[in-house]
Structure formats: C-alpha cells, structure tokens
C-alpha cells in the first residue's frame, strides 16, 4: 500500500468528492470531506518524510512506464507544496463546519463540500504529477470547483466575482495549454523529466521561446502577479469565509509552484533567466506589486478586500525571491509559500469569525471588537504581526531570507523596497487594530466571542505561524534543499 501513496493522495479524495454530493445531507457530506482532507494530510506528511529520507519518488500510473504513461513524480518541492495544501485543507475543513453553515444555505451544503474536495484534489494533483498535460487537467479541476465555491458567497457580487475569475482563469489555463502544445510539437513528450532532457536540443527554435512566453503569461495570470491580479480582490472578498481562507492560502501558492516547476525544472534556470531573461520581467513586476498593492490595501474599508490586496503584495515577495534565481532567493520564495499560507489563512479565518458574529467585515462594523471578541482580534493581531515581519513570526523568517538574497546580489535598493513593504503592512494592519481597540462599540450590539469551532482552527494557524517563526530550522532546511533540487546544485 505504501508504495501507492503518491497516487492515493489524489485518488481517494477524487472518489470521495461525488460521494459527498450523493449523500445529500450536509452533515454527512462534511464527514466525507473531513475524511478526504485528513487522509490527504496524513499522506502528505508521510510523503515529505519519505522524500527527505529516500529522495525523489517516481510512480507510474497503471504500471505504464514513463514517458508513455503518466508519471507521478514527487521531489521535495512537490511534497512540500502538497503538504502546505493538505495542511491548510485539513484545518479549513474543521473551520468550514461552523462557518459554512452560517454562510451557505443548507440545501447546498453537500454540493459545497463536494466542490471543496474537488478543489482540494485538483491542487494536490498539480503538485504531485509529473506530466504537464495532467497539470492542466488538475488545474481545471481545481479552478472550476473554485469558481463554483466562490459563487456560493452570501453577497450577490460573489456571482460577478466568480464570473470574472472564470473568464480570466480560463484564459490563463488556455495559455498554459497552448504553451504545453507548442512544447509537445517540438519534443513529442509531455513528461516533465523527459521534456527537461529534450528541450535544450531544440531551444534555438523559435517555437520554444513562444511556448515559454505563453506559459509565463498563463501562470502569472493564475498566480495573480501584478498587473494580472484583477480577478483576485473580488473573488477573495465575496467568497464564503472558509473558501477565502482555503483558496488564499493554497491556490496562488500552487500557481507559484507551477512557476518554479516550469521555469526551473522544465526549461532550466539557465534558459529561463539567462536566455529569456525572465528576471527582468518578474523582478520589476514583483517590486511594483509589493509597493502599489500594499498602498491600495491601506485604503480599503472592507477588511477581507484589504487582506486580498495584501495577498497580491505578498505574492510579489514570493516572485521576487524566485526572480533572483539563486539558492537563497528561491529558498526565500518557497519559505514564503509556506509562511504566507499560515499567516493569511489565520487572518482570513479571523475575519470569518467576525463575519459569523457581526455579519460584515467592513471597518465601521468592527468598532470595539477588541473587547467583544478578544480571542478573534488577538488572532488577527498575531497574524498581522507576521505580515509585518516581527521577529518570532514566520513573516520575519521570509524577510530574513529575502533580504539576504537581495544583498547577496548587491541589490540593496531591492532590499529597501522589501523593508518598505513591511512598513506599509504596519499601516494597514494597524488600521484594523485601531478600529477594533480604540473605538467604542455600539452598546446596542449584542456581539459575543466566536464559537470554538471557528476559534480553534484559527488559533491552530496562529500558533503554527509563531512556532515556525521561532524554530524555522526545519522549514528553512526543507526550503533550501528544495531550492537546491530546483537549481540542480548541491546533493
């Protein structure tokens, strides 16, 4: 059984998804979804341990040998990303039980959980597969179910947000397919390892740079890199809270994984960054994203939207790290994948608690919440400190590596921009804190602390974001080794 784990992490949830829809009753569907998430969580941990101990795992689906059959290939990067997705999924599903009941009508509950598992499965599938077309299929599985999930938000604007996301997401995915097709036309293979071997021989042909360009645009659309981020703020703002928390911490992260996989493993760092000069595109965009999106976040009145813009800025940090194309830089990018998933998950979950009790996350409705919902707001402060990058939080660890990577290249202005971004984060986090702690609540409001079903998952992520900030050696070690795998250096 254990040699089949690479495929079971995907197959089991995939089979459970229709089951959740069929059982009809939301409670039963939740149990199915929880089983799927926690199964995947357990397997992902096992996979990370195995990859750390034994190295890259290769699994041939149905016994068909690569490159003809579909290969699942799990190296440290895949395993780490799968673990991030599975961890957040496992926490989010606990959270969903209480939150979704309040925000989604009961007759849609079962369908909600079914879509949730599909989305989850798709994201896991992308991270474990070793076949580029399979990536596209899983990408669509996760995206289509994500559109449906977002459309279930209470506000009717959730519908337009989902539609907007659908259009832009499909364009992005289609660009990726075009890129894959062009690569296939030159090499005749879809297997990642095989592609990596055959591409250098044909790299001079004009088709390959064209494929590269299509992939770049498609992936940056999916990961919401400035200026292709327009779908993200609305989608995050109007989706049900549990969905926002889950998608914000995983979907864009998996897109970053695609960026790493295509540009480092498939094309190779030398082709991507020296021949195609990808860094000349990514770095300015990332820097602009960090500064402008943080500034935009400062002016938001809806806290979920504020956090959404902050996410676009944080994606800028990840892409910035990757654009250095050095071990330190890629390490910073990968670390921030994990770290940002923890802190943004916690922050969006805290906002879900507010949504649950107050029914709105607009700033003017959050007056005095520091007293009325002390644990929720304390969780927000904890996540916010991480966003700022205070020592002993995961945000600090990311910044430590990112600034190092910039200084290693002698790019001190870039390091200064990173720091400037943190300072802008201080402003938008503190804006919320001031309203919650310094303004008197409306005495007529009968607002109580959020139920434990919401607080426990929220605090699990908050505590994790402190734990991995205090002892970052494990994550930093994994990220460094993953970066070495991607860059093809080291052991």
């Amino acid at each position: 059984m254990s040699q089949h784990l690479p495929v079971l992490i995907v197959v089991v949830p995939l089979l459970l998804a229709p089951l959740a829809a069929l059982v009809g009753n939301w409670k039963a569907a939740w149990i199915v979804a929880a089983a799927a998430s926690w199964w995947a969580f357990g397997v992902s941990i096992a996979l990370v341990r195995r990859v750390l101990a034994e190295g890259t795992i290769s699994y041939e689906i149905g016994g068909w040998a690569a490159p003809y059959g579909i290969e699942y290939r799990i190296d440290l990067v895949s395993a780490f990303v799968a673990m991030i997705v599975a961890t957040i999924g496992a926490v989010a599903i606990i959270y969903a039980r209480t939150s979704v009941r309040a925000e989604v009508s009961e007759d849609r509950g079962a369908l909600f959980y079914s879509a949730f598992i599909l989305c989850f499965t798709g994201l896991l599938g992308i991270s474990v597969t070793g076949d580029v077309f399979n990536i596209f299929v899983f990408l669509e599985v996760s995206s289509l179910s994500a559109y449906a999930l977002i459309a279930m938000g209470q506000d009717r604007r959730a519908l337009t947000a989902a539609y907007q996301y659908l259009i832009m997401g499909s364009v992005g995915a289609t660009f990726i397919v075009i890129g894959i097709g062009l690569m296939y036309s030159m090499t005749g293979t879809l297997n990642i390892a095989d592609l990596a071997e055959r591409l250098p021989a044909v790299a001079d042909n004009r088709t390959i740079p064209v494929a590269f360009t299509f992939l770049t645009v498609g992936i940056t659309l999916k990961l919401a890199l400035f200026p292709l981020h327009l779908w993200l703020p609305n989608a995050y703002t109007y989706a049900p809270s549990a969905v926002t928390a889950f998608i914000a911490s995983t979907a864009t992260k998996v897109a970053v994984y695609l960026l790493l996989r295509f540009f480092f493993t498939v094309f190779g760092a030398e082709f991507s960054f020296e021949q195609m000069q990808l860094d000349k595109v990514l770095m300015p965009l990332a820097l602009v994203a960090i500064v402008t999106m943080s500034l935009v976040a400062i002016y938001q009145d809806n806290v979920k939207r504020l956090l959404a813009y902050s996410s676009v800025a944080q994606i800028g940090y990840m892409v910035l790290g990757i654009s250095f194309a050095s071990v330190l830089g890629v390490t910073a990018g990968i670390l921030h994948l994990f770290n940002h998933a923890l802190m943004k998950g916690a922050l969006f979950m805290a906002m879900g608690c507010v949504m649950y009790r107050v029914g709105s996350v607009r700033l003017e409705r959050m007056k005095g919440l520091g007293k009325k919902m002390p644990w929720t707001m304390a969780a927000f402060v904890g996540g916010g400190l991480s966003l700022i990058g205070v020592p002993f939080t995961v945000g600090f660890v990311s910044k430590w590596y990112l600034v190092q990577a910039a200084l290693e290249r002698g790019m001190w202005p870039v390091a200064a921009v990173v720091m400037f971004g943190s300072l802008l984060a201080v402003i938008y986090v503190w804006k919320v804190v001031e309203v919650a702690y310094f303004q008197e609540a409306d005495p007529d409001d009968d607002i109580r602390e959020a139920p434990l079903g919401l607080l426990i998952p929220t605090w699990a992520l908050v505590i994790a974001s402190f734990y991995f900030g205090i002892d970052a050696t494990t994550t930093a070690d994994i990220a460094t080794r993953a970066a070495e795998v991607l860059l093809g250096v080291g052991p």
Binding site: F133, V137, L144, A151, R157, T160, S170, T174, G181, L190
Partner: protein
C-alpha cells in the same frame, strides 16, 4: 506556398484572435463566454493540426494492412480532455450568467458595474 501549407495554423491564429477580442471587447457576459469558446476551440485546432500526419489514418491496427501511415493519436486524445474541460467551463459560466441575471436583472458588464457600487 509555405504560407498556404500552414493554412491550419493561420486559421488557428485567426480564431484565437477573434475569440480573444470578443472576450475582451464585449460587455455582454454571454458574448464573452462565446468568445472564450472560440478561443478554446482554436487551441483544439492547434493540437489536432500538430497531430495530423499527411496521408495518415486513425491509428487502428488492421489485419493485413502494413506500412500504413498513422496520425499521432496523443494530441487527439488530449483534445478530448480539453473539450470536456471546455464544456464544463461553458456550463459553469452560463449557469453563473443565469444567476447573475436573476440577482442583478442584467448581464451587461457596464450596468453590472453600476449595480455593484
């Protein structure tokens, strides 16, 4: 002659641009979806053109017929998947449009923008 020989690809590019233009320029949500469909169809043509071998036939082994040229089946098969994905996307998109129409009373982009404020 080369230009004519690449006729399929010219068609692909034409369709792609038509679809993409419709998707961006049209304000009607249904028309946008039609644009998306044309756009995706062009990709199907791209793959199928790639897989077609001149004079080739479907890759089915027939007793006695040796030295037959086969077309590459893989792009064709991949496009089966892409078609499924396209249908699903369209279905989801259209159902969203129906819901949007119910909720806002319009499917025009500019009117929706006013409504959302």
């Amino acid at each position: 002659m080369i230009a004519l020989g690449l006729f399929n690809y010219w068609a692909v590019i034409l369709l792609m641009m038509v679809g993409f233009y419709t998707l961006i320029a049209r304000g009607n949500l249904v028309k946008k979806l039609i644009g998306l469909n044309i756009f995706q169809t062009s990709v199907i043509m791209l793959y199928v053109s790639m897989g077609k071998v001149a004079g080739g036939t479907a890759p089915i082994l027939v007793e006695g017929a040796e030295h037959v040229v086969y077309s590459n089946p893989i792009p064709h098969v991949l496009m089966l998947t892409a078609i499924v994905v396209g249908v699903a996307t369209t279905a989801l998109g259209l159902s969203l449009v129906v819901r949007i129409n119910e909720a806002f009373g319009t499917v025009e982009d500019d009117e929706l923008r006013d409504e959302s404020l």
